[in-house]
Symmetry: C2
Subunit: 314 residues, 2 copies
């Protein structure tokens, strides 16, 4: 049975109900994590593919040259000081300080990040793992300021993309390209290995225009304390650290979050969500209007033409 | 010139003015870090003494037996579920949840922790480093809950003990005995090595009854962003991790703090502040009344009689 099976009214079935009044519980994942059938054709080592399958994430270092990373960082600085972007209504600011926290749609508004999104090292790998053409479901620059950077509580991205965006199945993945050093003290990404195999049904309902607050602080679509404890006791917690330019590749359903950041050192990354074209979004699986296009690509789905990176290493 | 020199009115001079309307700046420390004159008599290795002198902290593992650590943990559980203690007015709770965060005066209210405070492994080492008889300036159990544990912003303990308690000089140190695993993800202590040599003059003034809010969230007596950045760029940031029963020994003026804790795993420790008897508190160096006795020993100063730990290893 395909997970995007439609009923007689041509409606995609909801196999991952959440925030629908049910008590918190787990649903075992039936979707694969790795869709690729031929391990020999992988653009990364078989061992890494296996690790991704089992743990739900891998960290790739040295994918980019120092010059490329410097270019990403310059582009980050340019974008976060662009007054037009700040005023666009597509930028998220810190609850207290008003500092820029996230800039969306960087695969559209920035020529550099548009090129990066289609780069074979990222998009080619996504195509392989998802065994399909891919498009960008969401992209953004995250800038977690130092001193007073807030925590981001545990969540599965897929839970939100499913409920609020109408993503039918778990056939999507994220790539976070670190643009500053991510070390153990400046609020790095925390991941629970293996948690991608359990779907956590969340309590509560989705309020209207939830995205206006959830991108600053998530209060709905978060796991119960009991579910979270169970996952962490089973899988432990991994701190994703790395030098600038590392790629943290993680499955759409892995449980993750991050502590705050009181160090003076900001933590920034570029973030691309690749979704399989066959898994394109339908109507949200909740009673709310779809989130805006800058948060969830819906009307302008464009399969990526993968670009070989050529002689960029310099 | 002694740092506790008195003027013609018999008033102890304030060599570390802070929160007195001055702009944030550094004062070079003139007090020693290690007071002991004879390194050969040290109860720990010379190398560790040197490391403490240079970095302002050391982490001692395996000082206690597994049986002893289990005893401390049981006592922690007993105390934090004691309704009388909870209602005593000497207990600090989390701003949001109301969970117990700190219990004070454990060297008085708990026979076990009273014995631990005087144990040669701790008190003997404090005597050695401070080259004086010692007493407990403050003691507490810290319980940092999982899921929603809040951050504790950067500060020098001495700045508060000087301004609010009237501790004349930097001749005190803290020992934190970890009672749960402290790992990189559950909000461990962050320290800036070498920062004990710089006194950060803080801006603002001390509000009345500051202790009622400062023990939950410190807003006065915190370093400016510029001062903090300078210290962190010079010294870096160290994450103090360790298995249960580790002792983190740190100088009274080292800059430290901790990020929040979204993991399900609480972080607890027992905390003793040893002050040199010759450095006993005088009137506060601000225009406020002294803090209560449970936060700062003032009327009941009792030099510790160091107890050999004997055959406790089991």
């Amino acid at each position: 049975m395909s997970l995007t099976e439609r009923d007689q009214n041509n409606t995609v079935q909801d196999h991952y109900r959440s925030r629908s009044g049910l008590k918190a519980h787990f649903i075992d994942r039936t979707d694969p994590v790795v869709y690729a059938a031929e391990p020999t054709a992988a653009p990364i080592s078989e061992k890494l593919v296996q690790q991704y399958d089992e743990q739900g994430f891998i960290i790739l270092e040295d994918l980019f040259s120092a010059r490329e990373v410097a270019g990403f960082q310059q582009e980050l600085d340019r974008l976060r000081h662009d007054e037009e972007i700040k005023a666009s209504g597509e930028t998220i600011t810190e609850p207290d300080s008003g500092d820029v926290r996230s800039i969306f749609r960087i695969h559209e508004i920035s020529p550099l990040f548009k090129k990066l999104a289609a780069d074979a090292r990222l998009a080619g790998l996504a195509q392989y793992l998802l065994d399909d053409q891919v498009y960008i479901h969401q992209s953004r620059l995250n800038y977690k300021p130092g001193f007073r950077g807030k925590e981001f509580y545990w969540h599965s991205d897929f839970e939100t993309w499913h409920v609020e965006d109408g993503m039918p199945a778990m056939r999507a993945l994220s790539m976070s390209i670190t643009l500053t050093a991510n070390d153990e003290s400046n609020g790095p990404l925390l991941l629970i290995p293996g948690s991608q195999r359990k779907y956590v049904v969340c309590e509560g309902h989705t309020p209207a225009e939830h995205f206006r607050s959830s991108l600053k602080k998530q209060e709905y679509g978060v796991p119960s304390d009991e579910c979270l404890s169970h996952l962490a006791e089973q899988g432990g917690i991994v701190t994703a650290t790395g030098k600038p330019g590392s790629v943290i590749l993680f499955d759409c359903n892995i449980m993750h979050g991050s502590n705050g950041n009181i160090t003076p050192f900001p933590r920034s990354n570029a973030f691309f969500v690749y979704n399989a074209l066959s898994n394109r979004v339908v109507d949200p699986f909740c009673d709310q209007a779809p989130r805006p296009e800058y948060i969830c690509t819906r009307r302008q789905i464009k399969p990526l033409t993968v670009q070989q990176s050529g002689n960029n290493h310099g």
